[in-house]
Symmetry: C2
Subunit: 302 residues, 2 copies
């Protein structure tokens, strides 16, 4: 796949109808993206929030009365709690943040009693990045959650991203562990984790993918770089997944590409029992639509 | 300035003739870039290395016999040592690496007795990045030397980059201290350094520039981002200089932009008594030409 829109096409072809519980479904961009997905047939939304406000926003979209549900809960915290409860109880397949603040939303998602993260599970974030100048979608992690992932958190990031790649139809994704250099050195502690992970993968401790690192961005994404640098790698400039060494790197990398390389992004929280969509309120309807499609691709629908 | 070529135009307009000592001037790209700069009138090269090989490579370029010097030293280490000595003794204004390995080259540059780094000076690296989609050159640091700069190293990176901006003609450059967020938090230690640096700049401890941070790439480089995020900053999406939190971030950032956003780069070692050009052997003649022009802009010629 080369574009995020192909994710939506794939979801449509699966004939899934994914039930999405939206916590505080009271902003226009969210309603717009959800209505589009509903009309295209792959989503059945359960919009939780002030019914009056939701119905007002829905006026602009010709949704069939049977194609959605609204649950009237005007308090943001209660609406979020109800959305999380529905997902936990298999009354919905995906959780999505609406107009509620991210802190409030994540507090419910992470609640030990009521939340969606299993005990000891590592929460992380994986994005699918569309770049006009790369020949396929690039999955990147972690752009949002883990400031400085340790060895186990890096392995979790890999496993989550590999699962996403599998759902995108890539049987054996190529995982590049990104540093500024391809050399292992104590001066760059992440390269030590990368050497360990490479060996673990070789021993079958991480499965269903091809891993190599440390590699720089050129070795990971430019087929010419290996010859120029004299570095042999099974990734060979054809990476499906980039594991970035820390949040600062991942964040500057994708934001630079969105601003200067026409990049488009769709991402999901990882580690929860069901897909969770968290986007900032300012995100466009289109971005939200791609995120919804990705969450539907990752959802297991009975 | 919007393009690296404008740096060369500016240098030409200054009527400087910069003496560049080239350690092991025995590769075609280096000779090509140096010949072009010499013919354009702003460089007088002193090529140190095997005279036979240098004269062979020079055959392709119609250099006037008076416009260059060759010093015959076939051993790489001795050639490098002689180049460094000439720069240290004011017999040359700029040092440039040719075919010698980077490790060997830097060992001489950093030598306590013979080298070019003053005692206690911090060595760093600043690049000028040309991006088709940004409205001016973007100076970024540190893409090559400091793995995880501490507070004092960050301040040195700022001062070096500000000096380069001044030479580019920017009287009061806007310096953005880059993180994944604009919030100061103990979970992101670099943001603490950034808060300190912002306050130090306010108190006049860092001069001749406008500093703000932490900021993310959007707030630093996209004028629309401040309103969307509700963040007031004097940088306002119009940064001249990006200080990146660590080498991994800087490296992934610029390599992503070179690969996917048509970026072009020219950089210099910082902290030495005279400009030092270190480029990998694989770099194109064009990249080397831009680096030479930048080094000439930074050189103080008597």
């Amino acid at each position: 796949m080369k574009t995020l829109n192909e994710i939506a096409l794939k979801v449509k072809s699966l004939n899934k109808k994914v039930r999405i519980a939206i916590a505080v479904a009271e902003d226009a961009n969210t309603i717009g993206a959800i209505s589009r997905s509903t009309n295209e047939g792959f989503v059945h939304p359960i919009m939780i929030g002030s019914k009056a406000r939701i119905m007002e926003l829905l006026k602009d979209f010709s949704l069939n009365d049977e194609s959605f549900d609204v649950i009237d809960v005007s308090n943001h915290e209660e609406a979020t709690r109800e959305a999380v409860r529905m997902v936990k109880n298999n009354e919905a397949d995906v959780l999505m943040k609406g107009l509620v603040g991210t802190d409030k939303f994540l507090r419910e998602v992470l609640s030990k009693e009521r939340g969606l993260l299993p005990p000891k599970a590592i929460m992380s974030y994986t994005c699918a990045l569309e770049l006009p100048k790369y020949h396929k979608l690039l999955l990147i992690s972690d752009t949002a959650v883990l400031p400085a992932p340790d060895l186990n958190q890096k392995i979790a990031m890999i496993n989550y991203s590999v699962k996403m790649a599998h759902n995108l139809g890539i049987a054996k994704p190529k995982v590049a562990l990104i540093s500024s250099t391809e050399k292992v050195s104590e001066a760059m502690p992440n390269t030590i984790d990368y050497a360990l992970i490479s060996k673990m993968a070789e021993r079958g401790q991480i499965k269903d993918c091809l891993i190599d690192g440390p590699l720089d961005i050129f070795l990971a994404c430019d087929p010419k770089a290996g010859d120029i640098k004299g570095v042999q790698s099974p990734i060979a400039g054809n990476a499906d997944i980039l594991i970035l060494p820390n949040l600062e790197t991942a964040n500057a990398f994708y934001k630079g590409l969105m601003l200067f390389a026409g990049g488009e992004l769709a991402g999901l929280i990882q580690g929860t029992v069901k897909p969770v969509v968290v986007m900032s309120r300012s995100e466009s309807e289109n971005s939200k639509y791609y995120c919804i499609a990705l969450s539907c691709l990752m959802a297991e629908v009975r």
